[in-house]
């Protein structure tokens, strides 16, 4: 898992992606640009976040699930 560590905490890149989604950026391209990550990493990461139940794809835009919102609220910084 590149975005979520085995202990369930988001990695640095996972955190950047979660925060970008929370800020309202919904497409992979927007998230990549905001998070400063390569697009391929973001596409792969979004799959991972979705499979982990932290994000949902709705009308071609990603948004945080309630589980994702809860996780982001626990992140410092």
């Amino acid at each position: 898992m590149a975005c979520i560590s085995p202990d369930g905490k988001p990695t640095e890149s996972g955190t950047k992606m979660l925060r970008a989604i929370k800020s309202g950026l919904g497409s992979a391209e927007e998230i990549a640009s905001s998070a400063g990550l390569p697009l391929f990493r973001v596409r792969s990461g979004l799959r991972e976040l979705t499979q982990a139940g932290l994000a949902n794809l709705k009308d071609d835009k990603y948004e945080l699930s309630s589980k994702g919102m809860e996780l982001v609220s626990t992140l410092s910084g």
Partner: protein
């Protein structure tokens, strides 16, 4: 062996869609489609912790910024595990100071290697040879290079091919032997006699009607 023979018959070819894959890498799970919209260099190496491969990875890391400027992603592959790849790239960084910035596929089950014809039994039945697949943003294979186990790849040539392909796509021209960015390019040959006659009048530098060059 039968599986390898079968694979040799269906090697990927230029101009055809790159075989899809879903695999694990040092940057997590990756699919070919994750790279859609970018140029991609998918390259294989025989094994981690081997001398020629180490020099190649350092060289790929050195041209990485130039590739990024050209919108190209790099993706390595060998049949080693993710743990082996991680240990190796950490060792390379520790010993040489060079950070490997691109993902490396851990193709333990050889699914990607076989789909791309990266295992050449005459060289090794278990390791991948030194392949380079240049895949365009539409995921079409545009260049295939094979190097033997004993010969490290030439990064300047890989960059030159990227420049040539991108120049061709942008300007609908071809590039002559030993072309370098800034050199004259080859104008596509005319299809009709009328075009051939017009060609001579168009101010190109022509050896004859079928070989004309121009500056971009």
């Amino acid at each position: 062996m039968e599986e390898v023979k079968e694979q040799l018959i269906s090697l990927p070819r230029l101009g055809e869609p790159a075989p899809a894959f879903e695999t694990v890498s040092t940057h997590g799970a990756l699919k070919l489609e994750d790279f859609k919209g970018s140029w991609l260099i998918l390259f294989s190496h025989p094994a981690d912790f081997t001398p020629v491969c180490t020099t190649e990875f350092i060289a790929f890391a050195e041209i990485f910024p130039e590739l990024q400027k050209r919108g190209v992603e790099l993706l390595g592959l060998s049949v080693d595990s993710v743990s082996s790849h991680i240990a190796w790239v950490r060792n390379v960084e520790e010993k040489t100071g060079v950070r490997i910035p691109f993902p490396i596929i851990a193709d333990l089950n050889k699914e990607v290697s076989l789909a791309y014809g990266m295992i050449h039994p005459g060289q090794s039945k278990t390791e991948t040879v030194r392949c380079v697949f240049i895949i365009d943003p539409n995921q079409i294979i545009r260049t295939i290079l094979y190097y033997p186990l004993t010969t490290g790849r030439n990064m300047a040539e890989i960059l030159r091919i990227i420049d040539a392909l991108q120049t061709t796509d942008k300007n609908a021209v071809a590039t002559p032997a030993n072309w370098q960015p800034g050199d004259m390019v080859v104008v596509p040959p005319p299809n009709t006699q009328e075009m051939a006659e017009e060609r001579i009048k168009q101010g190109y530098e022509c050896v004859d009607w079928y070989l004309c060059k121009k500056k971009l």
